[in-house]
Symmetry: C2
Subunit: 426 residues, 2 copies
Amino acid sequence: MNIVKYPSQAQWAALMQRAATVNNDARAVVADIIANVRQHGDEALREYASRFDRITLADIKVSAFEFEEAEALVSQELKDSIAQAKSNIEAFHAAQRMQEIEVETMPGVVCRQRAVPITSVGLYIPGGNSPLFSTVLMLAVPAKIAGCRNIVMCTPAGRDGKVHPAILYTAALCGVDEVYKVGGAQAVAAMACGTETVKRVSKIFGPGNRWVMEAKMQVSSAGVAIDMPAGPSEVMIIADASAQAAHVASDFLSQAEHGPDSQSILLTTSEALAEQLPEVTEELLNQLPRREMMEKSLSHSHVIVLHDDEEMMRFANEYAPEHLIINHASADALALEVENAGSVFLGPYSPESAGDYASGTNHTLPTSGYATAYSGVNLDSFTKKITFQQLSREGIESLAQSVMTMAEAEDLMAHRIAVAVRVGKK
Amino acid sequence: MNIVKYPSQAQWAALMQRAATVNNDARAVVADIIANVRQHGDEALREYASRFDRITLADIKVSAFEFEEAEALVSQELKDSIAQAKSNIEAFHAAQRMQEIEVETMPGVVCRQRAVPITSVGLYIPGGNSPLFSTVLMLAVPAKIAGCRNIVMCTPAGRDGKVHPAILYTAALCGVDEVYKVGGAQAVAAMACGTETVKRVSKIFGPGNRWVMEAKMQVSSAGVAIDMPAGPSEVMIIADASAQAAHVASDFLSQAEHGPDSQSILLTTSEALAEQLPEVTEELLNQLPRREMMEKSLSHSHVIVLHDDEEMMRFANEYAPEHLIINHASADALALEVENAGSVFLGPYSPESAGDYASGTNHTLPTSGYATAYSGVNLDSFTKKITFQQLSREGIESLAQSVMTMAEAEDLMAHRIAVAVRVGKK
């Protein structure tokens, strides 16, 4: 863990450097996979399952029996926890529903904006060591609230040909319509193109490894929407002397276990906190599994001592962190200064874990500085905002002169005539 | 103009076909331009201006003097029209401001969502025959309302080395901070990477030819946000026997003058209207310039007679048109059935021209079926929605069990410990 005291402005850029995600080698492979799935459909998916995952897929679609089986395997304690999280996520995302907006901009000129659900959405849930049923909650709950009619999900099966029970249980609970045992770039391809079994969708959500990410970028260039581009996860913590080192250390470690590329950065005005942190982190690390991976992640983390709150906020806004924890006596005031961040955690009792699972906010957030321009997943992500306008005879008459003058100035004479014929002018 | 009566469902896909936009040849050229601008900055911009536009760029940035000069060249009539349009666009986009949302999902667990402006945005305004000052209005007005701090604009200069006065006048009126005389893919590259003169931005908006579009797709894969992917413009008109053929014909023609790739489709239950349309269109066409281009565009337009309103709405929702005109006695009722469209125009007096210029709605809209998942440009496009959460000691205690259980079930033990240390558990 690298401690830097009072870096000059010239040193900032280097401290803000993210792990480079070069994906050039994935490009051709993924393009091939997409072309193959587009052409051969289910057959291609079966071939990849056999080649990459070493499993024979009898049915691509998870059966009703498998859902029942999964439900029986999830403990009551976990079911209760999931129910709690779901209820909070529902409450916060339902509050994001927008009312239809209607403005009469001039007499007889009525403009409206209405949120309409995206009809078909696809959720990708990665396989691997961590069965990310929490991500099922984060994507399926707002999709359902938005009113998406078809909600499908792809997730790889394990070596036993089955999907993790907590994932299936959560998917059924949240109203996911169909779950397919497909992982990797081929899952993204299947949802983008459709196959005999997998329903085609208009927008694809969810995290994944670099193959999945590359596939999402490629299908998005070809017309299927995606939630957002994504890189390794990251947290920035702003802390003053009021913050407990154990809290900060535990936040560093929970970020570290997202993967070896994860990055944690502490900004602090407290030299004492900065100096305590490595030791306290080491103590906690001793109680945890996955030491090697966590150490790799911690190796590109930074502890940065800055002069004052203003400098910390400037640094944070320039970095645009995915997660920003403000563990600071003036957290409320600093929150008002946040310009670029995915999600912000205020005060000593708001660890990232709370928002990762159960407080109600979404955990699918912009990484890699994308927070300068992108929002995390929210109810909007599952809707389009469509505008409507209705002009009365009076309305078109009062607007006619402006439109005709502007159309003529842009040399678009047919635009002019479309108004002229309606108001009886030449 | 192709008239098809009562096509079977099997024929629909062919009728919905968009002009293919193959951009493969642009890919390498644009990648080169981006790399060159990234490396050589202003020098590269000067080189392209000389090579592509045959002009010598003394200053890349438009000077205060040039703004003054432009203002003097715009007629009072056009200024009044622009003022009218601006006022309507402001009224409708200001109404889209969202209130901060706050929900206490459990006692002591407060979640908030707040819209925060994107700090730096870049607008691209194409050159060519039509000086699209209306697009300046559509992009700069909401950017200003959203509160974007830096609003810059690129647009190519003409052979005389100057930008069209209406474009400069509108940019100044709407509060664009800096205008650069740069067009094409190099303009997108300059705003994405920044040069000595051109400020780097986080999101790029605006239409353009296929080079510009390809550049936007490439920079968006590299981390700069864009408004949306785009293809040729299109209109779908739903009309019953109440619609006047001259209105429909004028809407076809105003679509046609957007470019030779533009597409217009009429869906109607009235055979009489369908049969009248070619002749009425021809009459209007005789009064207009650009006949050759308009005929090319009309050649891939369709007039489709369908059985009933339900079938028309189903067709329209499947096509997902950029512009949807419902010139129909039951326009209000049908508006409620719209699932996929960029912007909708209701009744006989709502031509696309109204929304293109001055009614208040935005004219930067999703083409090519993107309306299934994308919104047109609106106030959201210039903001990020950031979430905040604040847990009290009571809040973390009531949430602790759920988070710890779920973290353990996902095998993320450090996530668990971040809660445990805060509530004094192991």
